[in-house]
Every structure is written in C-alpha cells, then in structure tokens.
C-alpha cells in the first residue's frame, strides 16, 4: 500500500498510529456533533480526512520537539499528546481548558507537550516556528520544530520569508504543508501557480518532497528523513502532504465549491480506511484488535466530553486577567 517502503515498525508502534488516527477522527466527529447541539459555539475547523498527516508527523517527533499548529489543528494537538479533556473543555470555553477558555479551538497551546500554539491567522505560525527553531539552535538543543500549515498559507509572504531564513541559517524546521486542495473555498488551481508546492523548496535551497498525505506510513517515512536532517544540523525540509478535508472549511460550510464526485473519490482514500486495510491485509498484523482500540477511543472521548461539560466556566473577572505576565 505504501508508495515509500518504510522501515519495519513494531506491532506496538503500528497500533499506536492507528489509535492516534482513530482518536482524531472520533474527536472531530464528536466535536462537530456538539457544535450542532449547541454545546460548542462557532469556529470549528475539522480535520476529518487529514488524520494521517498529523499522526505521521507527530509520530516522527519526540516529546521534546515543538509544533506550531493552525486553525485546523485539533489533530496536530491530539497527535502531539494534548490532554483530550483539557482540549474539549477549551472548545467549550471552560476554565479547565488548555487556555482557560481564553483562546478556543484555533489557539490550543500546551507548552509541556511541545505545542507552542495553534494559530487563527493563516500562516501566522510560520515565523514563530522559525523563531522557535532559532532558539533551539542558540541553546544548542537538538529539538526540531514542525510547523503545520495548508496550501492556502503557502501563498502568504511569511511562508516565503520563513523558508528563506530557515534555509539560510539551517534551522531545524519541518515546513509541513497539509495540501488539502483548498484555501478556504478556493481550489488550488485557482490559488497557486504550481500544483505541487514542494517545487518552491528548491528556490530556497532546501529539500522539498510531495507525499501521499493519506498514507500514514509514507508520511512517517518522509518525516523520519526530515527529522534526521534537521537534528544533524542539515536544516529545514518542505514536506507537502497531499490530502483532502472531507468536511467544509468550517463546520456549517455548505461546500458548494466542491465539484461533484470529488469528495467521493477522496473518501475511497480515507486514511483510516487505507490503514485498516493495510493492518488487516497481507503484510499487516493479521487480526489486530482494532475494534478494542476504537472502543478505548470512544471511552476516552466520552470521558473528555463529560469532563468538559462538568467543568466550570471562567469567572467574569478573567475578562481582563493575564493581559500582561507579572515579571
């Protein structure tokens, strides 16, 4: 199934990848339903269909590595190890949220897990990722920084500024472009002058690869190469993962801009479907306990929802709290 033959992974590792993807899928489905039910207010950008990118990228990172995420970032945060309960509470604007209810869906941050923050400004995390990588270099740490952004963000000026600087200074950045074919409601052939954005990497003297983003093992393999290069001081890589978002740009988006049949074609390449076929097929794990994993995932998310629903709202005086940090 994989276009790139990965190094053999342990059974434990493969099942962990499945668990993470299943968790992202189910979290997003539940969050979308909670939005419909009015328990989460507007501003939900679901990453259903894109689970393999988050899982494969974070699967290739260590806890000490850092990520910058974006508005479609729940999956990134889950894959990097955020507490599901705290993230669900944040989506509900509760004081027990990752950001104490102050940020919401697009701004999940958890420094302890290396999640420097998700960003509501398209491309806004790119300069920040470059800066975080600079800090790692100054501190002589071998951490790497993965910055998630989409094909839309790749056209922001800061993407080009960031690629130039990261390459010049050989900073340990993974420019992770989740190419889901759309920038908001505009398809890629209307917003980008080239179909494969990774060609731009050559213009900044850095390696650029275009990979099937719905093949979690292909993602993991590409990330492995990039991480090795970054940790050894070899500088950044532009990783373009081709994928598709099954839902709209935001929850409630009627998606009239998607041509007939396109979504169905991509559903055939659903990353969870593909990985399940691999794990249960020839060369896989035989009869892996996928249903048991899905049940564990279901329980974990139910627990997260219960935690979030029971959590207190922030007190009104928090409206003006933490505008400044006390020195």
């Amino acid at each position: 199934m994989s276009a790139i033959a990965p190094a053999p992974l342990s059974r434990e590792r493969l099942l962990e990848l499945y668990r993470v993807m299943a968790t992202i899928r189910r979290f997003e489905e539940v969050a979308c339903q909670l939005l419909v039910d009015g328990k989460i207010t507007a501003g939900l950008h679901a990453s259903i269909g894109q689970e393999a990118v988050a899982t494969g990228v974070c699967g290739g990172l260590e806890l000490r590595d850092l990520i910058l995420s974006n508005h479609r970032g729940h999956g990134h945060c889950i894959a990097k190890g955020v507490d599901l309960r705290a993230m669900m509470a944040e989506l509900m604007g509760k004081a027990s949220g990752t950001n104490r209810g102050r940020g919401g869906s697009m701004h999940i941050a958890d420094s302890a897990q290396g999640i420097l923050g998700a960003n509501g400004i398209v491309g806004g995390g790119i300069p920040i990722a470059v800066g975080a990588a600079y800090a790692c270099r100054v501190r002589q740490s071998d951490q790497v920084v993965a910055c998630f952004f989409g094909d839309g963000a790749a056209n922001e000026g800061v993407c080009h500024e960031g690629m130039n600087l990261a390459s010049l200074w050989k900073l340990p950045v993974l420019f992770v472009c989740e190419h889901n074919q759309y920038a908001e409601h505009t398809p890629q052939n209307v917003h980008a002058a080239v179909p494969d954005l990774a060609v731009r990497a050559a213009g900044y003297a850095m390696p650029g690869v275009t990979v099937d983003g719905n093949d979690v093992l292909a993602v993991l393999s590409a990330v492995g190469t990039a991480v090795k290069l970054a940790r050894s001081g070899g500088g950044p890589t532009f990783l373009e993962f081709k994928t598709y978002r099954i839902r709209g740009h935001f929850e409630g988006d009627p998606q009239r801009y998607k041509p007939a049949g396109e979504q169905d074609r991509w559903k055939e390449r659903d990353p969870l479907k593909l990985f399940t076929e691999y794990l249960t097929g020839p060369g896989g794990l035989g009869q892996p306990p996928l249903e048991a994993i899905k049940q564990d995932v279901e329980n974990a998310i139910r627990e997260a929802v219960a935690f979030a629903e029971a959590a207190p709202l922030p007190a009104l005086d928090e409206v003006t709290a933490n505008v400044y940090a006390e020195s």
């Binding site: 923050g117 806004g124 920040i128 800066g131 975080a132 600079y134 000026g157 500024e161 600087l165 505008v323």
Partner: protein
C-alpha cells in the same frame, strides 16, 4: 559620573544585558557585522558571537515572528525593526501574535520579547521613514510601549524592557541619537509605567515623550522669563500610561497641554485628554490643548518638515493660551 551619548547608552544596555543573561539575543537587519544601522550594536558580534547577534534578510514579518517564537522557546530575544514605519510589515506578528500570547494562553505562556525601533522624524527622512505610529501599538492590549528622551533612560528603559516578561516596543528618536548627558556608572533600571517630572511647575502642565521633551523644556525655560512656571512631564512609557503622575500634576496646575510629533487626530494625546476629562474635569481651569503635527504625511522638503513638527514656540503659545495670556 561620565558623559554618555544616547546611542552609546543603548549599546551599553544591550551589551550588559547580553553579558548578564545568555538567553538575550539580538536579531535584525544590519545589527551584527555592520554594528547596527546607526551603531547601536557596535562590538556585540565580537563579544557574543554569530548566533546571539545575527543579521537577517529584509523580512520584517519574520524578524518580528522570530522574536515571538524564540521567546516562546526559552530565549529573551531583542529584535530590531529598522524604522518605525516598517512596523507595518510586521503587524500580524506584533499585534495578532506577540500581544496575545499571555492572554490567549490563559496566562500559561509568557513572551519576554523586546522590539527595538527608531523614529526617523526630524531628519528629512521623508514620508515613509519619519512616522510616529505609537498610538497604533498603545491601542493593543498586551503590548508595552516605551520611549526614552535621555541617554540615562535609553539605557534604563531598554534594560527594563529586556527583563520584562512581556512584549515591549522600545522606540528611540533618531534626532536624539547623539544627545549627551552625565550618567552614573551604576546600573539603573528605569521602571516601565512610570513617568517623570522633568521640571516642576505650578502654572501649567505640559506632557510630552521622546524628542518632544527637550522642546517642551526649552519652551518652559522661555516661559519662565515671562513669569510662567511650567511643569514638564516626560512620560517615558506610553503604555501602560502613568495616569497618576498626570492627574497629580493637573490637580496642582489645573491647566494641561499635550505635545507630540504624531499627527494630532487620534494621537496618544487624545487618550490623555480624554482620560483627564473623564477623571478630573473639575480640576481643569481651561480647555485642554494638544500641540501636534497636522493631518498630513511627513513632507520631505526641509522647508516643509521644519513647519510640520511643533517646536518650542508652538508649545509656548499653547501654554499662554491655557493661561489666557497673549
């Protein structure tokens, strides 16, 4: 005591803070090998090496954003935006990112970032290299904005900014770059958020910042020969504003003039005037006066620029006006 030039004071602050704390770094256009576009970082590359003092491409958005990321990842970075006007290229990283880290994280993250920039006003630098844009940044919760007027405060405020765990914008007036004063050898940390009364007076209060302060003091000297005793407040910090010092002065003099180089409409003088009118209208014996630039970009021609910024005579006229004198 020794005679210290303004730019050397900035240089000393950077050098001392970088020696004191290895997490302090300096990044920007021409800061390393060239020693700064105006000499502020002379010698720092040799002292601290090519990773802590680094020349960047012309990429203001990434320069500012690099500061944000580095501050989130364990450093205490100083980044330079060469001219105040170029902040326009960095607005997202300053306003949407840096300013909101502490609040948006519910206080779980902090951003010890210093942004140095130079205001080119008064040096025939033209419309795109001379602006006073401080009101933009004062209006953003989460940012601090400081603007020294003396070498001692240039050193003290920059040191305080670097030690502050918040994003602080430090503005230097290019027209004060070679000004000199006697400064103590001892380390002084000028507090952020505290104005200073440069000249105590009983008849009228003049509030000013940066390059306007010497002109306000010159106006006060002239007014003294007319028997008018002017109190001059040097704000030093624009945001957070030292309301107490302003209100205490107004309670004493009952007359307020605000002078700034920024254009009058929507300048920070409007905030001070509104604040005083809201909090202490009954203390005022005359209307508030603002002395500021007219509603136009900064002209290049020396003949025009000379008339564009308010000088001591305009401040004197405003003080006489609030005292009903001619």
């Amino acid at each position: 005591m020794r005679e210290l030039k303004y730019w050397k004071a900035v240089n000393e602050a950077l050098s001392e803070e970088m020696a004191r704390d290895e997490r302090v770094t300096l990044v920007g256009e021409d800061v390393a090998a060239p020693g700064g576009p105006f000499g502020a970082s002379r010698g720092l590359l040799d002292k601290f090496g090519p990773w802590r003092v680094k020349d960047t491409p012309i990429s203001e958005a990434v320069i500012a954003g690099l500061g944000v990321g580095a501050a989130l990842a364990g450093l205490r970075p100083v980044v330079e935006i060469m001219f105040f006007d170029f902040m326009g290229l960095a607005m997202d990283q300053v306003v949407n990112q840096a300013a909101k880290v502490s609040y948006m994280s519910g206080g779980r993250q902090r951003l010890p970032l210093t942004i140095r920039t130079i205001c080119g006003a008064g040096r025939n630098n033209g419309p795109q290299h001379s602006q006073n844009l401080e009101a933009w940044f004062c209006h953003v919760p989460g940012l601090k904005v400081v603007w020294p007027s003396t070498p001692a405060d240039a050193k003290g405020l920059l040191k305080s900014a670097i030690r502050d765990d918040n994003p602080v914008i430090v503005i230097d007036s290019l027209s004060l770059w070679t000004s000199t004063e006697s400064v103590s050898e001892e380390e002084v940390l000028t507090p952020i958020g505290k104005a200073v009364v440069r000249r105590s007076g009983a008849d009228a209060t003049v509030v000013a910042v940066g390059a306007m302060v010497p002109r306000a003091l010159a106006a006060a000297t002239q007014l003294a020969t007319e028997g008018i005793d002017t109190e001059v407040i040097d704000l030093r910090t624009l945001s957070p504003l030292d309301r107490e010092t302003i209100l205490t002065s107004v309670a004493k003099t009952h007359r307020l003039v605000i002078a700034h180089d920024a254009v009058k409409p929507f300048g920070f003088g409007a905030e001070i005037a509104a604040m005083v009118a809201e909090e202490a209208l009954e203390e005022l014996d005359a209307r508030i006066r603002r002395v500021a630039a007219p509603w136009a970009p900064v002209p290049f021609s020396p003949a025009l620029e000379g008339a564009y910024y308010a000088q001591a005579p305009e401040i004197q006229a405003a003080v006489r006006a609030v005292l009903d004198r001619k």
